[in-house]
């Protein structure tokens, strides 16, 4: 056991590490590149160690809780339960890798201090979301995330980037407004309540069922904007103009996942799936998720721009998480939650590779991928592994998620959901396999011979990031039975929610 005061300061410490890093980076300014790199890497390492430490303590049964009263009856609560650790460790690991990638990617571009400053702040906000102990805290960091990612989206300062930023703000701030309304309403009804497995609203349901239903719809819509639920996904493909590390972070860790995580918390810790079903909101949620999965894949199929195709693939894949939660039961819940990690790993690998192709060879469209496999075997290999994972090929991580989701759907007696999963797998194959074919089998195109103007060290760092996440895609799939694997961790969480 650890000292009681540590259990109070560790959750805020995890959040503040990156904030401190951001402040140092901002103050140090543009010229101090070496210092910036050190601060970035050190902070990322410290954060990872802290998360691992907290994770092990949570496993041993320690409770972490930090409370701070903002207003009478309005508390800022940071805590650490198993679900927090799941999201926090994903962010911590991927932040470290993305930092390495971003340092190499932005080697000579301007405004790096601004970029890395906001990058760190963005991770702070994500950690806050992971550690949030009540809806208000979650909302607070959720809005902070909007603010800190906007400068990253518009980083290039081009008219397209600014237009994407405008669209991003329009969607996310409107989502925030919907959330705020729901939050005021909910606080008025239920007061200051902490996340409780199984929810805390059941006693109110008899009298306020209409209000609770509406609040639930508003919460899901508010979080759904960032999670990219169709039709709230419009900002996501446009935000692809951002630099590749930003897209990677947006899609795998920060923004999209924050939305999905918010929905998980709403369903499991605020309402409880039983209450959601009782209010008649379970079926609509399943429908929206299934709809998004299928339509997202169809839209991806239509895109010929590489990053945009990946973006639509995210829209589709993130809804697996929502679907698993909504179907419920041990298996489906595990499948949905574990996809939070698995999709993150696969998608970040894909974006890393897309970024490398773009930076080194100027590839942006799918037909420009022809024959790159021979030129860049490692990067193309990483891309292939992640894409196969997305399709759900065993033993990669994507298969694990889909297997649990499918078994869960059958266990819950929902064969239609199984049909959705199979359709989606086919569509995934339809939009990923041609890319793999182009990489390895097509004759080299014009860009495959383009000269590379990036130094060997940055190139190595870029490649290392992509290959290491691809390795995780394989390793976590093969070692899914290991006691500390995300899968087993998630099964433990799911047991808490649906015993």
């Amino acid at each position: 056991m650890i000292a009681p005061w540590t259990t109070q300061i560790l959750p805020p410490a995890v959040v503040l590490v990156s904030t401190l890093a951001a402040i140092v980076i901002f103050v140090a300014g543009e010229a101090r590149q070496r210092l910036r790199i050190w601060v970035n890497l050190t902070a990322a390492m410290i954060k990872l160690l802290l998360v691992v430490w907290i994770g092990l303590e949570v496993l041993a049964g320690t409770t972490f809780m930090f409370r701070f009263e903002l207003l009478p009856g309005l508390e800022l609560i940071l805590h650490a339960d198993a679900l927090s650790i799941l999201f926090a460790s994903l962010s911590a690991v991927l932040w470290l890798v993305t930092t390495i990638y971003a340092i190499a990617y932005l080697e000579h571009s301007p405004n790096r201090a601004r970029f890395f400053g906001f990058f760190s702040l963005c991770v702070s906000a994500t950690m806050g979301i992971a550690m949030a102990g009540n809806l208000l805290t979650l909302f607070l960091f959720y809005e902070l995330l909007t603010l800190t990612t906007w400068p990253l989206v518009v980083h290039n300062g081009t008219p397209e980037a600014l237009a994407a930023g405008r669209s991003y703000l329009r969607y996310t701030l409107t989502g925030g407004v919907v959330l705020l309304t729901a939050l005021v309403w909910l606080y008025g009804l239920a007061g200051n309540a902490v996340f409780t497995p199984g929810g805390f609203l059941a006693p109110l349901a008899a009298e306020n069922s209409a209000a609770l239903t509406l609040i639930f719809a508003m919460l899901v819509a508010g979080f759904g904007v960032k999670a990219g639920l169709i039709p709230l996904h419009g900002w996501l493909p446009k935000a692809m103009v951002a630099p590749a590390p930003v897209s990677a972070l947006l899609h795998a860790v920060a923004v999209v996942k924050a939305g999905a995580f918010g929905i998980i918390r709403t369903v499991e810790d605020v309402y409880g799936l039983d209450l959601v079903a009782e209010l008649g909101m379970r079926l609509p949620l399943i429908t929206v998720a299934s709809w998004t999965i299928v339509i997202g894949s169809l839209l991806a199929l239509r895109e010929h721009h590489l990053k945009r195709r990946l973006a639509y693939s995210t829209v589709s894949q993130v809804s697996y998480i929502v679907l698993g939660i909504a179907v419920g039961g041990l298996l489906a819940t595990s499948g949905g939650m574990v996809h939070l990690v698995h999709q993150g790993l696969m998608k970040i690998t894909l974006f890393f590779c897309a970024g490398i192709f773009g930076l080194l060879l100027g590839v942006s469209r799918i037909d420009q991928l022809d024959g790159l496999g021979r030129r860049m075997p490692w990067v193309s290999g990483a891309f292939t592994v992640a894409a196969l994972g997305m399709i759900g090929l065993p033993p990669l991580v994507g298969f694990i998620s889909k297997w649990y989701l499918a078994s869960g759907a059958l266990a819950a007696g929902m064969p239609l959901v199984l049909a959705v999963l199979i359709t989606s797998a086919l569509l995934n194959a339809a939009y990923f396999l041609p890319l793999i074919r182009r990489l390895w089998l097509n004759p080299p195109g014009r860009l495959a011979e383009a000269p590379i103007e990036i130094g060997p060290l940055p190139r190595l760092a870029l490649m290392f990031s992509a290959v290491s996440t691809a390795a995780l895609v394989v390793a976590l799939g093969v070692l899914a039975a290991h006691p500390l694997s995300p899968l087993n961790w998630v099964v433990k969480i799911a047991q808490g929610y649906s015993p």
Partner: protein, 478 residues
């Protein structure tokens, strides 16, 4: 008279004496006197805050003449909060004023005394406990402010000052007409008149309309954008922080204290006027081609929130609105100070010149961003805290219209704030390079930044202010 009450004299007379001393000193010494006086009177607020926290209200009566006949001053929580905004904005404006009104600049001669006269007027208006005293204080404030706006060279500032003068005098006339009617009806000028059942509605409307002109509440705001945007930076900061607020506090006082039972229909009507102000101000701010105009129109919008207190009229709403006065004052002052530096360096505040500013003037860009976050009311910031309290109050009162309005107003504020921020992020190479003037000293940037930080950080620790405001106001049920 309690010792705390004697300090009230200092709050009014220290700036007044400083103004007199500054006139008598040779031009080169004037700013030193103001530095001293401008730092001295805020010190009095520390013991006064303790006294208010202890006793609720600090009152003093001159010469043993008790109201209704005598002249009395009174300091309650609301006045204290606005005094603090005044003090902080004043201190933060000192470096900027020091640099802008250097003794070698011709217009620096009258500036320093006028500033302290303005401070006297504002403080007096906040402390006034009777209607006529308030009239005198608001006149003093207006006249000093008009002269200060006109210290900026250029025809635009002169025109703005003239327009302000004419409208403000009109407002004063309406107000004093109302006061005359009240006196005729009740034979007393005290703000709290327990003797009457109902105030003459004509008198009430006259006084309120007059104060609405002075507080620049839509649609009587027309003097404000030009006045604020053409005034010298430090003047605009002080004015935006407190001049309108002083009139608004008087507006609340007359509504809740003097008018015992104001008509409910009028409350809803004024709430709707506030709603219109929020929408109109935000749209106008979005369309402005100049940074200072954007900030000025944002004030028109944000003042609308303060009218929502009338229909909501609960203790929680009062705390929220009072908190909003505080954070908005700090944020606005910081924005105008940052804008002043931008004008100094770029020679203009046209937003076409903003691209690339985040690199050249990172502190100013950061200040604008932080203050903007508070204006939008995004968490965690002081603006969010105030907004949350207003939202809870609206929920308690079942006022869904107000709730949706407050929530949606955040989006409208976001539109104009992010328009400015997006422009500063634009790649500078895309736009014509313009002449750069030397940077003002770093302390001016820092002062603005600290104000903006305060406006944000206070949202994390609002208890002291909220506890103070928790005492409420006579006429607002706790």
């Amino acid at each position: 008279m309690t010792p705390a009450a004697q300090l009230l004299i200092g709050v009014v007379f220290v700036p007044l004496l400083t103004a007199l001393v500054a006139v008598l000193l040779p031009p080169r010494r004037r700013r030193w006197a103001v530095l001293l006086g401008g730092l001295a009177w805020p010190c009095l607020l520390v013991p006064l805050s303790l006294a208010v926290a202890r006793e609720g209200t600090v009152t003093m009566v001159f010469g043993g003449w008790t109201p209704p006949l005598g002249i009395g001053w009174r300091l309650d929580a609301l006045a204290l909060v606005v005094l603090w905004v005044h003090a902080l904005a004043g201190i933060a404006a000192l470096p900027s004023a020091w640099q802008r009104f250097d003794p070698d600049v011709p217009e620096s001669g009258p500036f320093w005394s006028l500033w302290m006269i303005l401070a006297t007027g504002i403080n007096l208006a906040l402390l006034a406990a009777d209607l006529f005293n308030l009239y005198v204080a608001l006149e003093l404030t207006t006249l000093a402010a008009v002269a200060l706006i006109a210290t900026d060279d250029g025809i635009a500032a002169l025109a703005a000052a003239m327009r302000y003068l004419l409208l403000a005098v009109l407002g004063s006339l309406l107000y004093v007409l109302g006061v005359g009617l009240v006196y005729a009806q009740t034979g007393s000028l005290a703000m709290q008149q327990p003797g009457i059942d109902e105030l003459n509605n004509v008198a009430l409307v006259l006084m309120l309309t007059g104060l609405m002109v002075k507080a620049a509440i839509f649609p009587l705001h027309v003097w404000l954008p030009h006045a604020y945007s053409n005034a010298p930076g430090p003047v605009a900061a002080i004015m935006a922080a407190v001049v309108g607020k002083a009139a608004l506090v008087a507006f609340w006082r007359i509504w809740f204290e003097t008018a015992v039972a104001p008509p409910a229909l009028l409350a809803d009507f004024l709430g709707l006027v506030g709603a219109a102000a929020i929408v109109y101000g935000a749209i106008a701010a979005y369309l402005q081609p100049r940074l200072k105009m954007v900030i000025a129109y944002s004030s028109v919008s944000q003042f609308g929130f303060l009218l929502l207190l009338l229909p909501l009229a609960s203790q929680q709403a009062f705390q929220g609105a009072g908190f909003h006065v505080l954070t908005h004052g700090l944020a606005k002052a910081s924005m105008f100070l940052a804008a002043a530096n931008i004008v100094t360096v770029l020679g203009s505040d046209s937003i076409r010149h903003l691209p690339g500013l985040d690199k050249r003037m990172p502190l100013e860009a950061f200040t604008l961003a932080l203050a903007g976050v508070t204006l939008i009311g995004l968490p965690p910031s002081g603006g969010f805290t105030g907004k949350w309290m207003l939202l809870s109050a609206a929920w308690e009162a079942g006022g869904w219209f107000w709730l949706v309005l407050i929530v949606a107003s955040g989006l409208m504020s976001a539109a104009y704030v992010f328009r400015i921020l997006a422009l500063t992020c634009f790649h500078p190479a895309r736009r014509a390079v313009h002449q750069l003037h030397p940077r003002p000293p770093g302390i001016t940037s820092l002062a603005a930044l600290i104000l903006a930080l305060l406006a944000v950080v206070i949202g994390l620790y609002p208890h002291p202010v909220l506890d103070l405001l928790g005492a409420g106001m006579p006429g607002i049920s706790p």
